[in-house]
């Protein structure tokens, strides 16, 4: 779960406006922390498709995306710019993303239901998307078992921090990266406060 931090957006705005060098320094520090995690997550992407039927030929978007290791790796990134507010009104300021559809599938498949969706078959009626309509009753189970184990925290049954790529890399940091990010923000804040206070005092003198 993200840590709610008050004032980071304002800090970044202020840094960009009054101390661009500190803004660059903060971005660089965050990159130093997050880049290894991104690289590690990219290393977890299998070169070949984990299932023979999930071929590596690309297809137009909108359909079930074909497996493409290169594209998945390219889609794993980190961002330090504030996002648009979500429906709950929260702006994400620092994040690691797995952007591609294929990557998202490989990352999260089996997170909600480790045995695959309930099977109803191809001839079942209705338009529900929460069920398996494959002719193979074990399709979901076989798909998930071929993708391998999920990593990350499942505390309290909350599976939202589990995955095979970025969440795995994040779990491997054991919280050190999280602490390092906040330490970096705090250091920058301190420097900024000191600098603005100094200017104020000098003017007063």
């Amino acid at each position: 779960m993200p840590t709610e931090v008050v004032g980071v957006v304002a800090l970044k705005k202020a840094l960009n406006k009054y101390a661009p060098d500190l803004a660059k320094e903060l971005t660089k520090e965050l990159g130093t922390i997050l880049k290894p995690i991104v690289n590690e997550a990219r290393s977890f992407v299998p070169v070949r498709s984990p299932m023979s039927g999930w071929s590596e030929i690309d297809t137009p978007k909108g359909k079930f995306p074909k497996y493409n290791a290169l594209e998945i790796r390219r889609g794993i990134i980190y961002k330090t710019t504030p996002s648009k507010p979500n429906r709950a009104g929260f702006t994400n300021t620092i994040r690691i993303q797995n952007k591609t559809m294929q990557g998202a599938i490989y990352e999260t498949a089996g997170r909600k239901n480790g045995q695959g969706q309930d099977w109803v078959g191809a001839k079942a009626g209705g338009a529900s998307k929460g069920v398996s309509r494959s002719v193979n009753p074990y399709a979901g189970n076989q798909f998930i078992s071929n993708l391998g184990q999920l990593y990350g925290s499942n505390r309290g049954g909350d599976h939202r921090m589990m995955g095979r790529l970025i969440f795995r890399a994040w779990a491997n940091t054991q919280g050190k990266a999280n602490a390092a990010v906040f330490k970096s923000i705090e250091n920058t804040t301190t420097k900024f406060n000191r600098r603005t206070s100094t200017v104020d005092v000098r003017r007063a003198a």
Partner: protein, 655 residues
């Protein structure tokens, strides 16, 4: 675009949805204003009461933990002097330094004391536990438990913390070595964490908790003193205090109601007072307004110069709490899913067992069927019967359409037979047999295909019919071969030069050798017959290949070992003698023949190179087995044709 992301830091900025919600809440607040006033009074009292109780409870728990630690020290014989106070003091200092609550530190210390039995060692390990906890993100309780187990020899729990030590390292190293390694790996983590903003917040929390405990202690002491001591009395007094506060607030409300009656008098007094103090009030209000305005102008001026008034201030950070209800619901859902999965697995297992039993029964049945099939293959029998029937029908066919139909049916039966053969070959896993059976099936299918398409191919039909007919029923080739042999034999016979018989001249008396004379018994040579010795001599001159006449003139004695005496009398050998003479005179060429019959004796003998006048020629006619008429007709036809061609003199053989 997918939305899989790890959001490390988020900030509530508030947007339209929240503004709407806020408006709605405001409206609700106005509607329920009167109610909220009442509730405020009630909850205000309750809040005071709750805080009081919580404070006392916090103090009680803290006191209990401290007492428990003291008892542990006593049980371990470590409670000498002021040791209990020293340990508690150490914990308090540690709490202040690291920002970790004493609620965690005391049980951890307690645990480590029980494991090590040494205050110094326990303090050392507690410090290490704090470092490891700060470094790994695990709780102090978890780390201290792991260290306790590792101290007692179980290092697995320590490995699960992810401290960077391999299983081999943990099992092969002593605890001192592990401790040393951990001390190096996590040096300064706790103090560093305490210096962070989060650590400072923790310290603030600790201060608040300690304040609560202190307040609780004060409340407890005060109320206990009022009630003469004892926890029960103190609790009763807290309830009484709450009731008293509530009554007081109610009395204040009544007072306000009473003031309503005195409202005109109070207004009048107010007007008089306002008139008296108007100049001073106006001056104070004006001064406040001017100061405010001046401050605003100053801030604007500073901001324009790139200075943020009063700096950014401290950035506050708070960790959002877990949604308990969501977590509970998720846990319940997971539990239900697990139960359902267990049921499904049990059902599947039962089905597998049932299927296995059924499969075993089927295997047994198949075994029995295979045994029966070996004895009585109804399918093969049916095909053979059908083919026989087709053969009979072929004999009765009168036109081409019937022949074509028979060919069709026969081709189908052949296909079926080939399929069976192929199945058997596959079952036997014999590669050669499979290839051969496949080729045969393909051939049959080609023929059937040709017939099915109504493209009558005479070659195909001929091949079908040829396969249908028994090969030894009418074999023209063999018959031709037999006739050829007959012709050869007749040609040979024609080449035989029979001796010219010249009637003897009347009274010519004994001319030269080689003449014949007429006697009452027939014609005889003019020369005297040769003696037996002469004949034997002539026979020996031939190479001694055959028997000669014995001394008794009646029997042949064998001159060659292994040859039985065949002729019984000299008369029997008459024809033979003549034959030998013919050979001796060069009148007959030797040839191989099968069997000869002596003209006189009628006995059979086998011989090599001989010639004869009277002989039976046995011809093997490979035809018409079971049908003597057909054989007779075939032979008769052949001989007749031979006679017509002029190769046979009589046209008949001896019958």
């Amino acid at each position: 675009m997918s939305n899989v992301a790890i959001n490390i830091a988020a900030e509530f900025t508030g947007k339209n949805a929240f503004k709407k919600a806020e408006t709605s809440v405001d409206r609700l607040n106005k509607t329920t204003k009167g109610l909220s006033k009442t509730l405020t009074r009630t909850f205000g009292t309750a809040a005071v009461l709750a805080f009081g109780k919580a404070s006392v409870k916090a103090f009680a728990e803290d006191d209990k933990a401290a007492t428990s630690l003291g008892i542990t020290l006593k049980n371990l014989d470590l409670a000498y002097g002021s040791n209990i106070g020293t340990v508690n003091g150490f914990i308090n200092r540690l709490e202040a330094q690291t920002g970790v609550l004493d609620d965690e530190l005391r049980p951890a210390m307690d645990r480590l004391l029980r494991a090590t039995g040494s205050v110094t060692k326990a303090q050392e390990l507690l410090g290490l536990a704090l470092d490891v906890a700060a470094g790994t993100g695990k709780s102090v309780t978890q780390v201290s438990q792991s260290l306790q187990k590792a101290y007692l020899g179980q290092t697995q729990a320590l490995g699960r913390l992810g401290v960077g030590l391999s299983k081999a390292e943990l099992t092969s190293s002593s605890f001192e070595e592990i401790q040393q390694r951990l001390t190096v790996l996590f040096a300064g983590q706790a103090s560093a964490a305490a210096e962070t903003f989060a650590g400072q917040l923790d310290k603030l929390t600790i201060a608040a908790n300690n304040a609560k405990e202190t307040i609780g202690k004060g409340l407890y002491d005060g109320i206990s003193a009022l009630s003469g001591g004892g926890a029960t009395a103190a609790t009763d007094n807290i309830d009484k205090l709450a009731n008293g506060i509530g009554d007081t607030l109610a009395n204040v409300g009544s007072l306000i109601n009473k003031l309503k009656d005195l409202k005109p008098v109070l207004i009048g007094l107010g007007i008089v007072a306002a008139a008296a103090f108007l100049p001073m009030t106006t001056a104070i209000v004006g001064a406040i307004f001017l100061l405010g305005k001046l401050n605003q102008l100053l801030d604007k001026s500073l901001f324009k110069q790139g200075i943020i008034p009063n700096g950014m201030g401290n950035i506050s950070m708070t960790v959002s709490s877990q949604d308990t209800q969501k977590a509970d619901a998720a846990a319940l859902k997971a539990q239900k899913a697990m139960t359902a999965l267990t049921k499904t697995q049990a059902a599947n297992q039962a089905k597998i067992t049932k299927d296995k039993k059924l499969q075993a029964a089927i295997d047994k049945a198949n075994l029995a069927l295979n045994k029966g099939e070996g004895v009585f293959d109804i399918e093969k029998i049916q095909i053979a019967a059908a083919l026989t029937n087709q053969a009979q029908l072929l004999g009765k066919a009168t036109d081409a359409a019937q022949v074509l139909q028979i060919a069709n049916d026969t081709a189908r039966l052949n296909v079926k037979r080939s399929m069976l053969a192929l199945e058997e070959a596959i079952a036997s896993k014999d590669e050669t047999a499979i290839i051969a059976a496949t080729a045969k099936l393909n051939e049959d299918l080609k023929i059937l295909n040709a017939l099915s398409n109504q493209k009558t191919q005479m070659v195909a039909i001929e091949s079908i019919l040829k396969g249908l007919q028994p090969k030894d029923l009418i074999d023209q080739n063999n018959l031709d071969e037999a006739l050829r042999k007959i012709r050869e034999m007749l040609a040979l016979l024609a080449q035989v030069k029979t001796p010219t018989i010249t009637p003897p001249a009347g009274g010519g008396g004994g001319g030269g050798g080689g003449g014949f004379i007429q006697t009452p018994n027939g014609i005889r040579p003019t020369t005297e017959p040769r003696s037996i010795a002469e004949i034997n001599k002539a026979t020996e001159a031939l190479g001694g290949v055959i028997s000669v006449i014995g001394e008794n003139g009646k029997e042949f004695t064998k001159l060659v070992d292994g040859l039985p005496p065949v002729f019984q009398t000299v008369e029997d050998a008459g024809a033979f003698n003549a034959l030998v003479n013919s050979f001796a005179n060069g009148a007959m060429n030797p040839f191989n023949a099968g069997s000869f019959r002596a003209a006189e004796g009628g006995s059979l003998f086998n011989s090599g190179a001989v010639g004869s006048r009277d002989r039976d020629i046995n011809i093997n006619v490979q035809t018409g087995i079971g049908d003597p008429e057909a054989i007779a007709r075939a032979i008769e036809d052949a001989i007749r044709q031979s006679y017509q061609r002029g190769t046979s003199s009589t046209g008949l053989l001896a019958v």
